[in-house]
């Protein structure tokens, strides 16, 4: 009992080829940068787009199959969608928005409205049943959208950037509520988001999409511990390199050698370095650390009492140092500095 899909489609500049599975017992987040194809995936699952090649199967029922030409229109799919910006019908009250899906399925108006009221009560908006969407706050609109999607008891719940339209102040609270409602829903749950925090807090499993391809799949902790792309590494704040390891020496594509404490692993590997493990020097240091290289500061980010420094060089690197150290070193874009990393701080895993 699950969602099983292989989605291939060409839309404009996007060339999507993605395999996706989701079961009943998990919340799956499709995470990726803008333009990676996330919304396209959602639209295909909802039936608003058809695959060029591949298939969509829900509980062994074929919803879309390019091979056989099978295609189930959106209105006949057992789905509920929470759209980006929610798309509540502005001319209907919150109650009638929630009742919409029941009405189209032939539920009499009175009964549909009663059920809608129950759903609004469940998301804590019983008092707003008669309100028009324009008078609702972002968080309230999101809950109405969720109630509207759930009211028809779908098998598959799809959420497109469910928190992106909210301001930072209310976001944490709404996120907690959404997590609660997602946990209560018994069907398959797939959300797409570009926000790693939303993904990490709401989802059990991540499918990372970049340029229309899956770049990594796994639980939140798996993905963040062992990033397999620069995008993921950046999200979790790690420096990531890929190269060929030979007894503790990793040769990067530009011939730079990175030394690691792990001498067992050979072949194609990823090497991750925590920015806090990178030390910066004005002049070339001579000491025990095995890795040192020159680089030019390209970018500075000040985070409270710490500063993240981005450097170009033999191995591009982000170093996180204290504000005091940054001040002493007089770190500025264009400055030439030495980066130093101990071999034991270079973590390797197979690519």
């Amino acid at each position: 009992m699950m969602l099983d899909a292989h989605l291939c489609i060409q839309v404009g500049a996007l060339d999507l080829d993605v395999e996706l599975q989701a079961g009943d017992d998990e919340v799956v987040a499709v995470l990726g940068p803008n333009g990676a194809g996330k919304t396209t995936i959602l639209r295909i699952l909802a039936g608003l787009l058809r695959v060029d090649a591949g298939y969509v199967r829900l509980d062994e029922v074929v919803l879309d199959d390019a091979g056989t030409g099978t295609y189930v229109v959106p209105e006949r799919r057992p789905i509920g969608v929470v759209f980006q910006e929610y798309l509540l019908f502005p001319y209907l009250s919150a109650r009638d928005n929630v009742a919409f899906g029941l009405r189209t399925r032939g539920v009499p108006r009175r009964e549909a409205r009663q059920q809608a009221d129950l759903w609004l009560d469940r998301v804590g908006l019983a008092a707003f049943a008669s309100a028009k969407p324009r008078s609702l706050s972002g968080g309230q609109a999101q809950r109405v959208a969720l109630a509207r999607a759930l009211a028809t008891s779908p098998r598959l719940l799809l959420l497109d950037e469910p928190l992106a339209a909210l301001d930072a102040g209310t976001r944490a609270e709404i996120r907690r509520d959404l997590r609660h409602h997602l946990a209560e829903f018994a069907g398959i749950r797939v959300m797409v988001t570009h926000d790693p925090i939303d993904a990490a807090t709401l989802a059990d499993r991540l499918i990372v999409i970049e340029d229309g391809r899956v770049s990594q799949v796994g639980t939140v902790s798996e993905v963040s511990a062992h990033p397999r792309s620069g995008y993921v590494a950046e999200l979790v704040g790690l420096n990531l390199y890929r190269g060929t390891a030979t007894r503790g020496a990793i040769s990067l594509p530009n011939a730079t050698i990175l030394e690691t404490g792990d001498t067992q692993l050979n072949g194609d590997v990823f090497a991750a370095v925590n920015p806090r493990a990178v030390a910066l020097y004005r002049d070339e240091p001579h000491g025990s650390p095995r890795n040192r290289w020159r680089g030019t500061v390209t970018d500075l980010d000040v985070l409270a009492d710490r500063v993240r420094v981005r450097l170009d060089g033999a191995a591009p690197v982000v170093a996180e140092i204290t504000a005091a150290a940054a001040h002493d070193l007089d770190v500025q874009p264009g400055a030439e500095l030495w980066s130093v990393v101990k071999a034991t701080d270079v973590h390797v895993y197979p690519a």
Binding site: A46, G47, L48, E75, G80, V81, L87, T104, A149
Partner: protein, 271 residues
Amino acid sequence: MTGQLHTRRPGRRAPLFVVIVASVGIAFFALPLVGLLQRTPWSDLWSDLSSEQAREALRLSLVCSIWATGLAVVLGVPLAWLLARVDFVGRPLVRALVLLPLVVPPVVGGVALLFAFGRSGLVGEQLYDLFGIQLTFNTSGAILAETFVAMPFLVITVEAGLRSIDTRYEDAAATLGAGRWTTFRRVTLPFLAPSLVAGAALAWARALGEFGATITFAGNIQGRTQTMPLAVYLELESNPESAIALSLVLIAVSILVLVMLRDRWFPSPAA
């Protein structure tokens, strides 16, 4: 607020020359209205309007313009839908065809209608031979002529309205189980309502004032095809008071339509 950007610099005045020429322009619009009003026999207005000919013309105008508006909606909305949503070969041609009655002189439109729907016209001959239907010199002919000149207003307004609808709402309706017809009824139409009302009001106003095509195609028969504009023209010689009274009614209706549509066509600068 962007209000401050629009605030005029204090003491900045228009050049005198511009003010004078503009005043001439204003007078040009205002004088005919004033002329009409100063000749209006206010005390006899009601009796002028209740003469048989005037009453017939009023009734007929109302009947014909409402029918024409109804026909324009029934035929025009699907047409606007096609123009707005379906990418078909020859769409520019169809749009040009729809807009033609806007620019063609109504008299010419009436002549063209005559050759299409007249007793010996392209379709009119068959209509008469097969069903005994004669449109010319008949109320139905007046309705046809009014529909011909009024429908373009509805089509262009509704097409623009359809284009401005965010189709993602229709997608949302589909995911909620709504088929095409339900989506049109429960999502597209409510979003379209303001455009539809505006388009219908414009079409109605145009139909009400229609003269050239009507008199050419349907003729000028009291009680059958003589609508208000035709009566005004005819009465001007024999009974000018009645013509003025009817003119006032037409002006009042026009102003009413302008007021109704003011938010749509004349948004106040503060908005």
